[in-house]
Point group: C2
Chain length 226, copies 2
Amino acid sequence: MSVVQMVKIVGLGAVALTLSVEWLGWLFCRLWPRKISRGPLKEVFFFPTEVACTERLFTPDSPFPCPCPLPHNVNTSFTRLLGHILSASSSLDLCVFAFTNLDLSRAVLALHARGIPIRILTDMDYTLITGSQIGAIRRAGICVRCDSGAVHMHHKFAVVDGRRLITGSLNWTLTAIQSNKENILVTEEPDLVLPFITEFQRLWDVNDPARRQLPSIAEKTASLVL
Amino acid sequence: MSVVQMVKIVGLGAVALTLSVEWLGWLFCRLWPRKISRGPLKEVFFFPTEVACTERLFTPDSPFPCPCPLPHNVNTSFTRLLGHILSASSSLDLCVFAFTNLDLSRAVLALHARGIPIRILTDMDYTLITGSQIGAIRRAGICVRCDSGAVHMHHKFAVVDGRRLITGSLNWTLTAIQSNKENILVTEEPDLVLPFITEFQRLWDVNDPARRQLPSIAEKTASLVL
């Protein structure tokens, strides 16, 4: 067999292989459309949500069933949100206007107990509302920075492990979860996640208490002279 | 030339063409990475935004420059948001908690004047706040439905032309745009857009005034008897 014939046969084989793979892919898509992953994670949840027991999410290995009267093993918008928060394995950056929800506070404290670095940015005025969890979170040793501007730090987003964005209209409060009409969008789409990571870092740096303006030496001297 | 030879030549040609296209694509990606569209539209804007003139967005064909003292031809988060709203060509579905911003109201009225079907869902209590644009929008003949539940209809999303989702923490107010720390996410990713379309339709139907519970004939008769 000459070299030219060999090249032709290899060429024809390559064409046949390419076509086969393309057709098999098409066939697979048609037969099992749900099994094909369509890019990075994308989920949307709406609230209010049905009230269900969340104990299993915090103690998945417990041999004892939870005795509480709430429905168990129910998948709700809130259990899915809580699941995403608790899935953090390397970091959690949270930027939230109001934070009073006990389950979400418990989730943050559980991550902290696992040694996962957590940074929380919140609105100064809203740390003072009834039931705010910011005090308890600070007392546990988690780093919290407050935006103390005259206007609101109105964001409600979290970035899990530097790659999963959780954002929407939902504040981390019981009213938002159980009563209001709200939405949460979860995605790992880099074009959507990266701007939030950059904005979080910018706001984190801007609200560094160590960088708050201190009086200069000239100002101090002037005040002493006067 | 025999049929077999012809098949071999066509096969080789196909391989060469496939490889050429793949290599050209790779080369184009390397040379002009920004020019390659990476799937459906995905954008993120943060607020507060610089204040700039928006006149050009409303009157793009005007031969006269705007005489106002604001910066002109500046691309800000707000002009981009406004641009997305004004890009509507077939429909606008808006689900917003608070709506007082005059530019956004003007955009909605401009779309209405162009004959584009608009549906607005809002929170009943927040139609009463100072500066609410809902009255003006209703007077113009745009269909508005109010969620009159005891809790908040806290969404802040819009769907443009049934395919472009605009969602985030930002209410359609001047404070949100010019003062607060806020975010807006714009996407045409179907997995993210479709749930919002479904939820909008559900809330639209639930808040249809014609479907509000009226007393049944039995109840009416009972009240007459009593």
